[in-house]
Amino acid sequence: MMDYIKAFIVGGIICVIGQLLMDHTKLTPARILVLFVTAGVILQGLGLYQKLVDIGGAGATVPLPGFGYALAKGAIKEVKEAGLIGAFTGGIKATSGGIAGAVFFGYIASVVFSPKTKK
């Protein structure tokens, strides 16, 4: 149960940061997503994001910085095992499920469904 409270709080706070950026800067949602992923990569590059994941679990991995975290973690791990090539293979390997799923399900949903009329 404690895991779920921590996940809720950590995930919630990351989204609040996004909301504050939306409300108080001219950043569009697309730019915020790019910023968040890149921030996740850099924070994990410095070894910091892991600490947030240890506390928040899915609360840290479900928001987009968690995607960046997985990219960086995979790249660093693979560099240790395979050398320089690992920098190129590790990140996508670690996130391949999410990327492939997003492409596949995204495509199917886009083809099957049509936009609802906006009110």
Binding site: V10, G11, G12, M22, I32, Q44, V62, V79, G97, S114
Partner: protein, 147 residues
């Protein structure tokens, strides 16, 4: 007619007329919805773990299910309705990444399956992948050289 306001006064006037974002309410909604998506992710993670999937499989499986849900909810029109009051709470989780793929692709289907659906899927996802992957390669190279 004489211009009664200089440009600075005019700007102030316009600012006062612009709707102010309801920051507190927006943040509370973002917190709750973002928290709920995180708990959903935690629940899926725990189910994978309980069924003795390893850490990598659990992470991948959770991401796959969440992007599936994000794509489906966008397709049936629920996600965009959620986005109206959840703001960043629906954009920042990985379900929002799936939403950013399906939403423009659906919209531009009439432009065809290659330049309509195929290209528009990556309106937002493309930049996210480009910057995310490129940065991770740089991080990997730095680790290769210095650690």
């Amino acid at each position: 007619m004489k211009n009664v306001m200089n440009s600075k006064e005019y700007e102030k006037f316009i600012q006062s007329k612009m709707p102010k974002p309801k920051t507190l309410k927006n943040c509370i909604m973002a917190f709750i919805v973002g928290g709920l998506f995180s708990d959903l992710g935690q629940l899926i993670t725990d189910v994978f773990k309980k069924n003795e999937f390893n850490a990598d499989q659990t992470a991948a499986g959770t991401a796959i299910i969440l992007v599936f849900l994000g794509a489906l909810l966008t397709g049936v029109g629920i996600y965009d309705r959620l986005g109206k009051f959840a703001g960043a709470g629906s954009i920042v989780p990985i379900t929002g990444f799936a939403n950013s793929i399906v939403s423009p692709a659906m919209e531009f289907k009439r432009e065809g399956f290659v330049f309509g659906v195929g290209a528009r899927m990556f309106t937002v996802a493309g930049p996210v992948l480009i910057y995310g992957i490129s940065t991770s390669i740089i991080i990997g190279i730095i680790h290769y050289l210095f650690f």
